[in-house]
């Protein structure tokens, strides 16, 4: 279920990106005006779903667990050694 939702979201995001061109000035202004643009809300709902019957609260451990479960896999990214020396 989780996998299906994630791929559904990925497909939707890809479709929107593919159909549209560059960001409009309106979208840029929206970002600069502090949009709700982070994943933490998902963590909150994840944790609340797992605590039925108790008061909704999210701990640091909940966030770590949610992050581990939603891991996309090893990313393509620049290595530390390309930026910094020890």
């Amino acid at each position: 279920m989780r996998t299906h939702r994630r791929w559904g979201l990925a497909a939707l995001a890809a479709m929107v990106i593919g159909v549209s061109g560059c960001a409009t000035s309106e979208e840029w202004a929206t970002w600069k005006a502090h949009p709700t643009h982070f994943a933490s809300g998902d963590h909150a709902s994840f944790s609340m779903r797992n605590r039925e019957g108790s008061a909704a609260r999210v701990t640091r451990n909940d966030i770590t667990r949610a992050r581990d479960e939603a891991w996309w896999g090893k990313p393509i990214t620049v290595s530390q050694e390309q930026i910094l020396e020890r």
């Binding site: 995001a13 960001a23 933490s40 809300g41 701990t59 930026i83 020396e85």
Partner: protein
């Protein structure tokens, strides 16, 4: 011996050994900080040893107060920027910023995405990295590096790895000092710092960013997030 007595005995032993008990309080791992013996010069080792408690405080502060930000192993330390020839040591921090996939953000040119991330995080990280007046005044600390990394786009096919975008912001000590004392603003820091970018593993070279004041970090709260007992956030 009955089963119930054996179970009771096992529980006593487990509790005594610490195998069973209340859940441990969340705490960041010290492996996020480069160990003293991993430095290649005495200057690096001395700085790491001297300011180890400050690096732990930095690690813990981000862990508890910015829970949507992740610090990977060996991402905090007194590293030498690769482009600097001499042994200049910059207090360096690399963070991964977790965000929901956002088509509108993805459509921005890379300089604008980088500018947005710079505006949101660099000033706040510089303030966290310089909480110790002793560290800021130490002549052997030559500057600060803030490395920001975020998901560029979600994978579109099964098995495809995610791609991150990264910027490395190198702030010489005098620039950081001017910013922290209020003599210059964050747009000035963007102008005077060296900023390098990467798309995945591909270098984008130096980026020219236009930054602005962004109070997101000081105002955003994760819904229903509860700090560990004894932890306070600014």
């Amino acid at each position: 011996m009955s089963v119930s007595r054996r179970l009771a005995l096992a529980m006593v032993v487990a509790v005594t050994l610490g195998i069973v008990g209340p859940p441990a309080a969340a705490a960041p791992s010290d492996d996020r900080i480069l160990a003293v013996d991993q430095y290649t010069t005495d200057k690096g080792r001395t700085l790491a040893r001297t300011y180890w408690p400050d690096l732990r405080t930095l690690n813990a502060g981000i862990y508890h107060c910015l829970p949507w930000v992740e610090i990977q192993k060996q991402s905090i330390g007194f590293f030498r920027p690769k482009h600097v020839a001499q042994d200049d040591r910059y207090l360096s921090l690399r963070i991964y910023i977790e965000q929901d996939p956002s088509p509108s953000f993805a459509r921005l040119p890379v300089e604008k995405r980088a500018s947005a991330m710079f505006s949101r995080y660099v000033g706040a990280m510089l303030r966290r990295m310089t909480k110790s007046p002793t560290l800021l005044a130490d002549d052997s600390v030559d500057g600060f590096t803030v490395i920001l990394e975020w998901l560029k786009q979600v994978p579109t096919a099964a098995g495809e790895p995610p791609t991150h975008e990264t910027i490395a912001v190198f702030v010489p000590k005098p620039v950081a000092a001017d910013y922290l004392s209020g003599q210059i603003s964050i747009p000035d820091v963007a102008t005077r710092a060296r900023v390098l970018g990467w798309d995945g593993e591909t270098s984008l070279g130096a980026l020219r960013l236009s930054a602005w004041e962004d109070n997101f970090i000081s105002t955003y709260k994760v819904k229903n997030y509860e700090l560990e007992p004894g932890v306070t956030c600014p």
